[in-house]
Protein backbone atom coordinates (compact mmCIF):
# COMPACT_ATOMS: atom_id res chain seq x y z
CA UNK A 1 0.00 0.00 0.00
CA UNK A 2 3.02 2.26 0.61
CA UNK A 3 3.43 3.35 -3.01
CA UNK A 4 -0.19 4.47 -3.33
CA UNK A 5 -0.07 6.65 -0.22
CA UNK A 6 3.20 8.07 -1.40
CA UNK A 7 1.77 9.19 -4.73
CA UNK A 8 -1.23 10.72 -3.07
CA UNK A 9 0.89 12.62 -0.61
CA UNK A 10 3.21 13.69 -3.36
CA UNK A 11 0.39 15.07 -5.52
CA UNK A 12 -1.49 17.00 -2.87
CA UNK A 13 0.92 19.84 -2.05
CA UNK A 14 1.77 20.43 -5.71
CA UNK A 15 -1.84 20.98 -6.72
CA UNK A 16 -2.46 23.12 -3.64
CA UNK A 17 0.26 25.53 -4.80
CA UNK A 18 -1.25 25.81 -8.27
CA UNK A 19 -4.81 26.21 -6.95
CA UNK A 20 -6.42 29.65 -7.38
CA UNK A 21 -7.08 31.88 -4.32
CA UNK A 22 -10.72 30.82 -4.00
CA UNK A 23 -10.18 27.10 -3.91
CA UNK A 24 -13.52 26.03 -2.51
CA UNK A 25 -14.17 23.52 -5.30
CA UNK A 26 -10.55 22.43 -5.47
CA UNK A 27 -10.54 20.44 -2.27
CA UNK A 28 -13.47 18.40 -3.44
CA UNK A 29 -12.02 17.87 -6.88
CA UNK A 30 -8.71 16.85 -5.41
CA UNK A 31 -10.41 14.29 -3.22
CA UNK A 32 -12.24 12.98 -6.26
CA UNK A 33 -9.06 12.71 -8.32
CA UNK A 34 -7.29 10.99 -5.45
CA UNK A 35 -10.28 8.71 -5.10
CA UNK A 36 -10.35 7.59 -8.73
CA UNK A 37 -6.59 7.25 -8.75
CA UNK A 38 -6.59 5.01 -5.71
CA UNK A 39 -9.46 2.93 -7.11
CA UNK A 40 -7.55 2.44 -10.32
CA UNK A 41 -4.35 1.50 -8.56
CA UNK A 42 -5.91 -0.61 -5.81
CA UNK A 43 -5.94 -3.91 -7.69
CA UNK A 44 -2.41 -3.44 -9.02
CA UNK A 45 -1.13 -2.50 -5.58
CA UNK A 46 -2.91 -5.53 -4.10
CA UNK A 47 -1.16 -7.78 -6.62
CA UNK A 48 2.18 -6.20 -5.76
CA UNK A 49 1.56 -6.74 -2.05
CA UNK A 50 0.57 -10.39 -2.57
CA UNK A 51 3.63 -10.91 -4.77
CA UNK A 52 5.86 -9.45 -2.08
CA UNK A 53 4.29 -11.01 1.00
CA UNK A 54 3.30 -14.53 -0.07
CA UNK A 55 6.81 -15.74 -0.96
CA UNK A 56 8.18 -14.17 2.22
CA UNK A 57 5.60 -15.95 4.35
CA UNK A 58 6.36 -19.19 2.59
CA UNK A 59 2.86 -19.46 1.14
CA UNK A 60 4.42 -19.99 -2.26
CA UNK A 61 7.84 -21.35 -3.06
CA UNK A 62 10.15 -18.34 -3.30
CA UNK A 63 12.37 -20.23 -5.70
CA UNK A 64 9.63 -20.19 -8.31
CA UNK A 65 8.17 -16.86 -7.32
CA UNK A 66 10.73 -14.60 -5.69
CA UNK A 67 9.34 -11.58 -3.81
CA UNK A 68 8.64 -8.56 -5.99
CA UNK A 69 11.38 -6.49 -4.37
CA UNK A 70 13.98 -9.06 -5.38
CA UNK A 71 12.66 -9.15 -8.91
CA UNK A 72 12.77 -5.36 -9.10
CA UNK A 73 16.33 -5.30 -7.74
CA UNK A 74 17.28 -7.81 -10.40
CA UNK A 75 15.48 -5.74 -13.03
CA UNK A 76 17.51 -2.72 -12.00
CA UNK A 77 20.69 -4.72 -12.31
CA UNK A 78 19.70 -5.92 -15.78
CA UNK A 79 19.01 -2.33 -16.72
CA UNK A 80 22.30 -0.91 -15.46
CA UNK A 81 24.31 -3.72 -17.01
CA UNK A 82 22.80 -2.87 -20.40
CA UNK A 83 21.51 -6.38 -20.95
CA UNK A 84 17.90 -5.32 -20.63
CA UNK A 85 18.22 -2.56 -23.18
CA UNK A 86 20.08 -4.78 -25.60
CA UNK A 87 17.22 -7.28 -25.59
CA UNK A 88 14.49 -4.65 -25.52
CA UNK A 89 16.03 -2.94 -28.51
CA UNK A 90 16.09 -6.18 -30.50
CA UNK A 91 12.45 -6.77 -29.59
CA UNK A 92 11.29 -3.26 -30.38
CA UNK A 93 12.98 -3.28 -33.77
CA UNK A 94 11.24 -6.53 -34.71
CA UNK A 95 7.93 -5.44 -33.34
CA UNK A 96 7.96 -2.01 -34.94
CA UNK A 97 9.17 -3.33 -38.31
CA UNK A 98 6.42 -5.92 -38.40
CA UNK A 99 3.80 -3.45 -37.20
CA UNK A 100 4.95 -0.75 -39.62
CA UNK A 101 5.05 -3.12 -42.56
CA UNK A 102 1.55 -4.31 -41.75
CA UNK A 103 0.26 -0.72 -41.71
CA UNK A 104 1.94 0.18 -44.99
CA UNK A 105 0.84 -2.96 -46.78
CA UNK A 106 -2.67 -3.56 -45.52
CA UNK A 107 -4.28 -0.13 -45.36
CA UNK A 108 -4.11 0.37 -49.14
CA UNK A 109 -5.20 -3.22 -49.68
CA UNK A 110 -8.12 -2.78 -47.29
CA UNK A 111 -9.19 0.44 -49.02
CA UNK A 112 -9.24 -1.33 -52.37
CA UNK A 113 -11.15 -4.34 -51.04
CA UNK A 114 -13.63 -2.13 -49.22
CA UNK A 115 -14.26 0.17 -52.14
CA UNK A 116 -14.50 -2.32 -55.01
CA UNK A 117 -17.25 -4.83 -54.48
CA UNK A 118 -15.93 -7.38 -57.04
CA UNK A 119 -12.54 -7.45 -55.30
CA UNK A 120 -14.31 -8.00 -51.99
CA UNK A 121 -16.41 -10.84 -53.38
CA UNK A 122 -13.30 -12.47 -54.77
CA UNK A 123 -11.18 -12.22 -51.65
CA UNK A 124 -13.71 -12.55 -48.84
CA UNK A 125 -13.76 -16.37 -48.60
CA UNK A 126 -9.97 -16.39 -48.47
CA UNK A 127 -9.94 -13.72 -45.79
CA UNK A 128 -12.43 -15.72 -43.74
CA UNK A 129 -10.15 -18.78 -43.82
CA UNK A 130 -7.06 -16.88 -42.78
CA UNK A 131 -8.58 -14.66 -40.12
CA UNK A 132 -9.84 -17.76 -38.35
CA UNK A 133 -6.42 -19.41 -38.37
CA UNK A 134 -4.36 -18.50 -35.30
CA UNK A 135 -1.25 -16.65 -36.44
CA UNK A 136 0.99 -18.70 -34.17
CA UNK A 137 -0.19 -21.91 -35.81
CA UNK A 138 1.60 -20.66 -38.89
CA UNK A 139 4.85 -19.85 -37.09
CA UNK A 140 6.41 -23.24 -37.98
CA UNK A 141 5.52 -22.61 -41.61
CA UNK A 142 7.20 -19.20 -41.52
CA UNK A 143 10.29 -20.71 -39.90
CA UNK A 144 10.34 -23.52 -42.43
CA UNK A 145 10.19 -21.18 -45.39
CA UNK A 146 12.02 -18.10 -44.11
CA UNK A 147 14.46 -19.71 -41.70
CA UNK A 148 15.16 -18.92 -38.07
CA UNK A 149 16.48 -15.39 -38.63
CA UNK A 150 14.92 -11.96 -38.42
CA UNK A 151 12.89 -12.40 -41.61
CA UNK A 152 10.60 -15.07 -40.25
CA UNK A 153 10.09 -13.16 -36.98
CA UNK A 154 9.23 -9.90 -38.64
CA UNK A 155 7.09 -11.73 -41.16
CA UNK A 156 4.98 -13.47 -38.54
CA UNK A 157 4.47 -10.17 -36.71
CA UNK A 158 3.51 -8.46 -39.96
CA UNK A 159 1.12 -11.28 -40.67
CA UNK A 160 -0.55 -11.13 -37.27
CA UNK A 161 -0.80 -7.33 -37.33
CA UNK A 162 -2.20 -7.33 -40.85
CA UNK A 163 -5.54 -8.88 -39.95
CA UNK A 164 -7.02 -6.37 -37.54
CA UNK A 165 -5.84 -3.51 -39.75
CA UNK A 166 -7.11 -5.09 -42.94
CA UNK A 167 -10.50 -6.09 -41.57
CA UNK A 168 -11.07 -2.74 -39.89
CA UNK A 169 -10.05 -0.82 -42.98
CA UNK A 170 -12.48 -2.84 -45.07
CA UNK A 171 -15.34 -2.34 -42.64
CA UNK A 172 -14.42 1.34 -42.23
CA UNK A 173 -14.81 1.90 -45.94
CA UNK A 174 -17.89 -0.30 -46.17
CA UNK A 175 -19.79 1.35 -43.35
CA UNK A 176 -19.50 4.96 -44.51
CA UNK A 177 -22.93 6.54 -44.13
CA UNK A 178 -24.56 6.14 -47.58
CA UNK A 179 -26.27 9.49 -47.12
CA UNK A 180 -22.87 11.23 -46.97
CA UNK A 181 -21.95 9.58 -50.24
CA UNK A 182 -25.26 10.55 -51.78
CA UNK A 183 -24.87 14.10 -50.59
CA UNK A 184 -21.32 14.33 -51.95
CA UNK A 185 -22.50 12.88 -55.25
CA UNK A 186 -25.23 15.52 -55.41
CA UNK A 187 -22.41 18.08 -55.38
CA UNK A 188 -21.04 16.46 -58.50
CA UNK A 189 -17.93 15.02 -56.81
CA UNK A 190 -16.14 12.45 -58.94
CA UNK A 191 -15.21 9.00 -57.56
CA UNK A 192 -11.64 9.98 -56.70
CA UNK A 193 -12.53 13.14 -54.76
CA UNK A 194 -15.47 11.37 -53.18
CA UNK A 195 -13.04 8.79 -51.87
CA UNK A 196 -10.51 11.36 -50.73
CA UNK A 197 -12.94 13.80 -49.12
CA UNK A 198 -15.65 11.54 -47.76
CA UNK A 199 -14.81 7.84 -47.62
CA UNK A 200 -11.26 8.10 -46.32
CA UNK A 201 -11.91 10.58 -43.48
CA UNK A 202 -15.03 8.66 -42.49
CA UNK A 203 -13.03 5.44 -42.26
CA UNK A 204 -10.09 6.84 -40.27
CA UNK A 205 -11.45 6.11 -36.78
CA UNK A 206 -12.28 2.51 -37.67
CA UNK A 207 -8.88 2.05 -39.26
CA UNK A 208 -7.28 3.38 -36.11
CA UNK A 209 -9.09 0.87 -33.97
CA UNK A 210 -7.50 -1.78 -36.17
CA UNK A 211 -4.08 -0.18 -35.76
CA UNK A 212 -4.48 -0.16 -31.99
CA UNK A 213 -5.39 -3.84 -31.93
CA UNK A 214 -2.44 -4.58 -34.20
CA UNK A 215 -0.16 -2.75 -31.79
CA UNK A 216 -1.16 -5.16 -29.06
CA UNK A 217 -0.71 -8.14 -31.37
CA UNK A 218 2.75 -6.97 -32.40
CA UNK A 219 3.93 -7.38 -28.80
CA UNK A 220 2.05 -10.61 -28.11
CA UNK A 221 3.29 -12.41 -31.21
CA UNK A 222 6.79 -11.01 -30.80
CA UNK A 223 7.40 -12.86 -27.57
CA UNK A 224 6.24 -16.17 -28.96
CA UNK A 225 8.36 -15.68 -32.06
CA UNK A 226 11.40 -14.88 -29.97
CA UNK A 227 11.02 -18.05 -27.97
CA UNK A 228 11.84 -20.00 -31.12
CA UNK A 229 15.49 -19.76 -32.12
CA UNK A 230 16.30 -16.17 -31.25
CA UNK A 231 19.64 -14.89 -29.96
CA UNK A 232 18.33 -11.65 -28.48
CA UNK A 233 15.03 -10.08 -27.50
CA UNK A 234 12.80 -10.07 -24.46
CA UNK A 235 11.15 -13.34 -25.42
CA UNK A 236 14.60 -14.85 -25.71
CA UNK A 237 15.59 -13.32 -22.35
CA UNK A 238 12.54 -14.80 -20.62
CA UNK A 239 12.97 -18.19 -22.19
CA UNK A 240 16.73 -18.30 -21.64
CA UNK A 241 16.34 -17.23 -18.00
CA UNK A 242 13.86 -20.01 -17.43
CA UNK A 243 16.16 -22.63 -18.95
CA UNK A 244 19.03 -21.47 -16.76
CA UNK A 245 16.88 -21.17 -13.71
CA UNK A 246 17.57 -17.45 -13.39
CA UNK A 247 14.04 -16.97 -12.11
CA UNK A 248 14.29 -13.27 -11.13
CA UNK A 249 15.62 -12.50 -14.63
CA UNK A 250 12.63 -14.25 -16.11
CA UNK A 251 10.18 -12.18 -14.08
CA UNK A 252 12.14 -9.01 -14.86
CA UNK A 253 11.68 -9.79 -18.56
CA UNK A 254 7.99 -10.42 -18.08
CA UNK A 255 7.50 -7.15 -16.21
CA UNK A 256 9.35 -5.26 -18.93
CA UNK A 257 7.27 -6.74 -21.70
CA UNK A 258 4.00 -5.99 -19.94
CA UNK A 259 5.16 -2.43 -19.29
CA UNK A 260 6.00 -2.02 -22.99
CA UNK A 261 2.64 -3.47 -23.98
CA UNK A 262 0.91 -1.05 -21.65
CA UNK A 263 2.82 1.98 -22.94
CA UNK A 264 2.28 1.07 -26.60
CA UNK A 265 -1.42 0.61 -26.01
CA UNK A 266 -1.79 3.91 -24.15
CA UNK A 267 0.09 5.75 -26.90
CA UNK A 268 -2.14 4.25 -29.57
CA UNK A 269 -5.29 5.03 -27.60
CA UNK A 270 -4.19 8.65 -27.27
CA UNK A 271 -3.48 8.77 -31.00
CA UNK A 272 -6.82 7.15 -31.79
CA UNK A 273 -8.66 9.74 -29.70
CA UNK A 274 -6.88 12.54 -31.48
CA UNK A 275 -8.02 11.26 -34.86
CA UNK A 276 -11.61 10.57 -33.93
CA UNK A 277 -12.70 13.41 -31.67
CA UNK A 278 -15.60 14.07 -34.01
CA UNK A 279 -16.99 10.63 -33.38
CA UNK A 280 -17.56 11.22 -29.67
CA UNK A 281 -21.26 11.47 -28.80
CA UNK A 282 -22.25 11.68 -32.46
Amino acid sequence: MSSATETRVAIKPRVAVVAPPSPYGWGKRLLKVAGTLSTRLAAVVALAVVWEVFPRLGLVDSVFLPPLSEVLADWWQLLTSGRLWENTEASLIRSLSGFGLAIVLTIPLGLVIGWYQPVANLLNPLLEVFRNTAALALLPVFVLILGLGETSKIAIITYACAWPILLNTISGVRTVDPLLIKSARSLGLGPLRLFQKVVLPAAVPTIFTGIRLAGAYSILILIAAEMVGAKAGLGYLINYAQYNFAVPDMYAGIITISAIGLIVNQLLIALERRFSTWRTTS
Binding site: D177, L179, L180, K182, S183, A184, R185, S186, L187, G188, L189, R193, K197, V198, P201, A202, V204, T277, W278, R279, T280, T281, S282
Partner: protein, 265 residues
Protein backbone atom coordinates in the same frame (compact mmCIF):
# COMPACT_ATOMS: atom_id res chain seq x y z
CA UNK B 1 -37.06 26.55 -65.29
CA UNK B 2 -37.50 22.88 -64.38
CA UNK B 3 -39.68 20.73 -66.59
CA UNK B 4 -40.66 17.16 -65.95
CA UNK B 5 -41.80 15.64 -69.24
CA UNK B 6 -43.73 12.40 -68.98
CA UNK B 7 -41.31 11.05 -66.40
CA UNK B 8 -41.60 7.43 -65.38
CA UNK B 9 -39.51 5.50 -62.89
CA UNK B 10 -39.61 1.75 -62.45
CA UNK B 11 -37.76 -0.21 -59.77
CA UNK B 12 -36.92 -3.88 -59.67
CA UNK B 13 -37.49 -5.10 -56.15
CA UNK B 14 -37.24 -8.76 -55.17
CA UNK B 15 -38.22 -10.01 -58.59
CA UNK B 16 -41.25 -7.78 -58.94
CA UNK B 17 -41.46 -4.57 -60.90
CA UNK B 18 -42.67 -1.53 -59.02
CA UNK B 19 -43.71 1.61 -60.82
CA UNK B 20 -42.78 4.43 -58.51
CA UNK B 21 -43.59 7.33 -60.79
CA UNK B 22 -45.73 7.41 -63.90
CA UNK B 23 -46.46 10.14 -66.37
CA UNK B 24 -45.15 13.03 -64.34
CA UNK B 25 -45.64 16.33 -66.14
CA UNK B 26 -44.75 19.34 -64.07
CA UNK B 27 -43.24 22.74 -64.61
CA UNK B 28 -41.48 24.69 -61.92
CA UNK B 29 -41.14 28.38 -62.70
CA UNK B 30 -37.97 30.34 -62.14
CA UNK B 31 -37.83 31.86 -58.67
CA UNK B 32 -40.89 29.95 -57.57
CA UNK B 33 -41.41 28.15 -54.25
CA UNK B 34 -43.11 24.91 -55.23
CA UNK B 35 -44.11 22.32 -52.67
CA UNK B 36 -44.77 18.71 -53.59
CA UNK B 37 -46.97 16.89 -51.15
CA UNK B 38 -48.07 13.28 -51.25
CA UNK B 39 -48.81 10.19 -49.18
CA UNK B 40 -45.88 8.17 -47.93
CA UNK B 41 -44.36 5.91 -50.56
CA UNK B 42 -45.78 7.88 -53.46
CA UNK B 43 -42.35 8.45 -54.95
CA UNK B 44 -41.91 12.11 -54.10
CA UNK B 45 -38.36 11.58 -52.87
CA UNK B 46 -37.66 9.61 -56.03
CA UNK B 47 -38.88 12.57 -58.02
CA UNK B 48 -36.41 14.79 -56.22
CA UNK B 49 -33.57 12.31 -56.74
CA UNK B 50 -34.33 12.40 -60.44
CA UNK B 51 -34.23 16.18 -60.49
CA UNK B 52 -30.98 16.10 -58.53
CA UNK B 53 -29.46 13.70 -61.03
CA UNK B 54 -28.93 11.09 -58.32
CA UNK B 55 -31.12 8.62 -60.19
CA UNK B 56 -32.13 8.29 -63.82
CA UNK B 57 -35.66 8.13 -65.13
CA UNK B 58 -36.86 4.96 -66.84
CA UNK B 59 -38.45 7.10 -69.49
CA UNK B 60 -39.29 10.74 -70.10
CA UNK B 61 -36.90 13.56 -69.33
CA UNK B 62 -36.21 16.40 -66.97
CA UNK B 63 -34.99 19.76 -68.17
CA UNK B 64 -33.33 22.40 -66.04
CA UNK B 65 -33.08 25.70 -67.88
CA UNK B 66 -33.76 23.85 -71.10
CA UNK B 67 -30.87 21.40 -70.55
CA UNK B 68 -31.62 17.77 -69.93
CA UNK B 69 -30.53 16.42 -66.56
CA UNK B 70 -27.94 13.66 -66.99
CA UNK B 71 -26.32 13.67 -63.56
CA UNK B 72 -25.71 15.73 -60.46
CA UNK B 73 -24.62 19.30 -60.96
CA UNK B 74 -23.89 22.43 -59.01
CA UNK B 75 -26.80 24.24 -60.66
CA UNK B 76 -28.95 22.28 -58.21
CA UNK B 77 -28.41 22.05 -54.46
CA UNK B 78 -29.97 19.19 -52.52
CA UNK B 79 -30.97 19.44 -48.86
CA UNK B 80 -31.67 16.10 -47.18
CA UNK B 81 -33.90 15.30 -44.23
CA UNK B 82 -30.98 13.83 -42.26
CA UNK B 83 -28.69 16.86 -42.90
CA UNK B 84 -25.86 14.77 -44.40
CA UNK B 85 -23.17 16.90 -42.77
CA UNK B 86 -19.62 15.58 -42.63
CA UNK B 87 -19.15 14.86 -38.92
CA UNK B 88 -15.37 15.48 -39.01
CA UNK B 89 -15.79 19.00 -40.32
CA UNK B 90 -16.94 22.10 -38.48
CA UNK B 91 -19.97 24.07 -39.61
CA UNK B 92 -17.59 26.30 -41.57
CA UNK B 93 -15.83 23.28 -43.08
CA UNK B 94 -19.12 21.75 -44.12
CA UNK B 95 -20.24 24.87 -45.94
CA UNK B 96 -16.84 25.04 -47.62
CA UNK B 97 -17.28 21.45 -48.81
CA UNK B 98 -19.71 22.45 -51.55
CA UNK B 99 -17.36 25.24 -52.60
CA UNK B 100 -14.48 22.78 -52.86
CA UNK B 101 -16.60 20.74 -55.24
CA UNK B 102 -17.01 23.92 -57.29
CA UNK B 103 -13.24 24.58 -57.17
CA UNK B 104 -13.60 27.97 -55.53
CA UNK B 105 -10.18 29.25 -54.35
CA UNK B 106 -9.43 28.65 -50.68
CA UNK B 107 -9.61 32.21 -49.41
CA UNK B 108 -12.84 32.96 -51.20
CA UNK B 109 -14.25 29.70 -49.82
CA UNK B 110 -13.71 30.80 -46.26
CA UNK B 111 -15.25 34.22 -46.87
CA UNK B 112 -18.27 32.82 -48.68
CA UNK B 113 -18.86 30.15 -46.07
CA UNK B 114 -18.85 32.83 -43.37
CA UNK B 115 -21.28 34.92 -45.37
CA UNK B 116 -23.77 32.08 -45.73
CA UNK B 117 -23.46 30.98 -42.13
CA UNK B 118 -24.34 34.58 -41.27
CA UNK B 119 -27.35 34.31 -43.57
CA UNK B 120 -28.72 31.32 -41.67
CA UNK B 121 -27.89 32.97 -38.34
CA UNK B 122 -25.06 30.70 -37.28
CA UNK B 123 -22.09 33.07 -37.25
CA UNK B 124 -21.42 32.20 -33.62
CA UNK B 125 -21.32 28.47 -34.32
CA UNK B 126 -18.81 28.43 -37.16
CA UNK B 127 -16.28 26.28 -35.30
CA UNK B 128 -18.73 23.77 -33.94
CA UNK B 129 -18.82 20.19 -35.11
CA UNK B 130 -22.16 18.68 -36.15
CA UNK B 131 -22.41 16.64 -32.95
CA UNK B 132 -22.25 19.89 -31.01
CA UNK B 133 -25.21 21.37 -32.88
CA UNK B 134 -28.96 20.85 -32.44
CA UNK B 135 -31.03 19.32 -35.24
CA UNK B 136 -32.32 22.73 -36.32
CA UNK B 137 -28.80 24.15 -36.43
CA UNK B 138 -27.55 21.20 -38.43
CA UNK B 139 -30.24 21.77 -41.01
CA UNK B 140 -29.31 25.47 -41.15
CA UNK B 141 -25.72 24.45 -41.89
CA UNK B 142 -26.97 22.10 -44.60
CA UNK B 143 -29.05 24.90 -46.12
CA UNK B 144 -26.08 27.28 -45.96
CA UNK B 145 -23.94 24.63 -47.67
CA UNK B 146 -26.43 24.27 -50.50
CA UNK B 147 -26.84 28.02 -50.94
CA UNK B 148 -23.12 28.83 -50.77
CA UNK B 149 -22.19 27.32 -54.13
CA UNK B 150 -24.99 29.41 -55.58
CA UNK B 151 -27.21 26.91 -57.38
CA UNK B 152 -30.23 28.14 -59.27
CA UNK B 153 -32.49 25.55 -57.71
CA UNK B 154 -32.76 24.30 -54.15
CA UNK B 155 -34.16 20.77 -53.95
CA UNK B 156 -35.34 20.04 -50.42
CA UNK B 157 -36.35 16.54 -49.41
CA UNK B 158 -38.52 16.78 -46.29
CA UNK B 159 -35.85 18.93 -44.68
CA UNK B 160 -37.79 19.71 -41.51
CA UNK B 161 -39.46 16.34 -40.94
CA UNK B 162 -37.00 15.23 -38.27
CA UNK B 163 -37.31 18.43 -36.22
CA UNK B 164 -39.63 19.24 -33.34
CA UNK B 165 -42.64 21.43 -34.09
CA UNK B 166 -41.25 24.67 -32.68
CA UNK B 167 -37.92 24.40 -34.44
CA UNK B 168 -39.77 23.52 -37.63
CA UNK B 169 -42.00 26.62 -37.45
CA UNK B 170 -38.94 28.78 -36.90
CA UNK B 171 -37.06 27.27 -39.80
CA UNK B 172 -40.03 27.62 -42.13
CA UNK B 173 -40.07 31.38 -41.55
CA UNK B 174 -36.31 31.44 -41.91
CA UNK B 175 -36.50 29.57 -45.20
CA UNK B 176 -39.14 31.94 -46.58
CA UNK B 177 -36.95 34.89 -45.60
CA UNK B 178 -33.92 33.32 -47.29
CA UNK B 179 -35.96 32.49 -50.36
CA UNK B 180 -37.18 36.08 -50.65
CA UNK B 181 -33.65 37.38 -50.20
CA UNK B 182 -31.88 35.07 -52.59
CA UNK B 183 -34.59 34.60 -55.22
CA UNK B 184 -33.78 30.91 -55.64
CA UNK B 185 -36.18 28.44 -57.17
CA UNK B 186 -37.20 26.04 -54.42
CA UNK B 187 -38.70 22.59 -54.83
CA UNK B 188 -39.74 21.42 -51.40
CA UNK B 189 -40.99 17.93 -50.60
CA UNK B 190 -43.15 17.28 -47.57
CA UNK B 191 -45.92 15.06 -46.30
CA UNK B 192 -47.24 17.85 -44.06
CA UNK B 193 -50.25 19.69 -45.43
CA UNK B 194 -49.83 22.73 -43.20
CA UNK B 195 -46.19 22.97 -44.12
CA UNK B 196 -47.12 22.78 -47.79
CA UNK B 197 -49.70 25.55 -47.57
CA UNK B 198 -47.51 27.69 -45.37
CA UNK B 199 -44.49 27.57 -47.67
CA UNK B 200 -45.68 26.95 -51.20
CA UNK B 201 -46.74 29.50 -53.76
CA UNK B 202 -48.03 26.45 -55.52
CA UNK B 203 -48.60 23.02 -54.07
CA UNK B 204 -48.42 19.94 -56.28
CA UNK B 205 -50.45 17.07 -54.83
CA UNK B 206 -49.30 13.58 -55.79
CA UNK B 207 -51.32 10.38 -55.99
CA UNK B 208 -50.42 7.19 -54.18
CA UNK B 209 -48.19 4.75 -56.05
CA UNK B 210 -47.64 4.88 -58.93
CA UNK B 211 -47.03 8.55 -58.20
CA UNK B 212 -48.62 11.03 -60.54
CA UNK B 213 -49.33 14.70 -60.18
CA UNK B 214 -52.99 14.81 -59.15
CA UNK B 215 -53.43 18.55 -59.08
CA UNK B 216 -51.34 21.70 -58.72
CA UNK B 217 -53.00 24.16 -56.34
CA UNK B 218 -52.22 27.86 -56.41
CA UNK B 219 -51.84 29.23 -52.92
CA UNK B 220 -51.94 33.00 -53.35
CA UNK B 221 -51.51 33.90 -49.69
CA UNK B 222 -50.08 37.38 -50.02
CA UNK B 223 -49.43 38.18 -46.40
CA UNK B 224 -47.05 35.28 -45.71
CA UNK B 225 -44.41 37.12 -43.77
CA UNK B 226 -46.56 40.07 -42.69
CA UNK B 227 -49.39 38.35 -40.88
CA UNK B 228 -48.84 37.54 -37.25
CA UNK B 229 -50.33 34.08 -37.34
CA UNK B 230 -50.95 32.94 -40.87
CA UNK B 231 -52.00 29.50 -39.76
CA UNK B 232 -55.19 30.79 -38.09
CA UNK B 233 -56.10 32.85 -41.16
CA UNK B 234 -59.41 31.66 -42.71
CA UNK B 235 -57.80 31.68 -46.15
CA UNK B 236 -55.07 29.42 -44.87
CA UNK B 237 -57.71 27.05 -43.50
CA UNK B 238 -59.42 27.03 -46.89
CA UNK B 239 -56.30 25.93 -48.76
CA UNK B 240 -55.39 23.52 -46.03
CA UNK B 241 -58.78 21.88 -46.39
CA UNK B 242 -58.57 21.79 -50.17
CA UNK B 243 -55.27 19.97 -50.13
CA UNK B 244 -56.40 17.72 -47.31
CA UNK B 245 -59.40 16.64 -49.42
CA UNK B 246 -57.18 15.97 -52.43
CA UNK B 247 -54.86 13.89 -50.31
CA UNK B 248 -57.36 11.96 -48.24
CA UNK B 249 -58.31 9.42 -50.92
CA UNK B 250 -54.67 8.94 -51.79
CA UNK B 251 -53.67 8.26 -48.22
CA UNK B 252 -56.46 5.69 -47.95
CA UNK B 253 -55.40 4.08 -51.19
CA UNK B 254 -51.78 3.98 -50.10
CA UNK B 255 -52.75 2.35 -46.82
CA UNK B 256 -54.87 -0.32 -48.50
CA UNK B 257 -52.11 -1.06 -50.99
CA UNK B 258 -49.65 -1.44 -48.15
CA UNK B 259 -51.94 -3.83 -46.30
CA UNK B 260 -52.39 -5.89 -49.42
CA UNK B 261 -48.66 -6.51 -49.27
CA UNK B 262 -47.53 -4.68 -52.35
CA UNK B 263 -43.80 -4.12 -52.07
CA UNK B 264 -43.05 -0.86 -50.39
CA UNK B 265 -40.41 1.37 -51.88
Amino acid sequence: MIRFENVRKVFQARGTTVTALDGIDLEVRAGEFLVIVGPSGCGKSTLLDLAGGLATASSGRILVDGKEVTGPGLDRGVVFQQYALLPWRTAQGNVEFGLEAKNVPRRERAARAREYLDLVGLSAFRDRYPHELSGGMKQRVAIARSLAFDPEVLLMDEPFAALDAQTRDGLQDELLRIWERTGKTVVFITHGIEEAVYLGQRVAVMTSRPGRIKRVVDVPLTARSATEDLRSDPEFAHYRHQIWSLLRDEVDKARTAELEGITHV
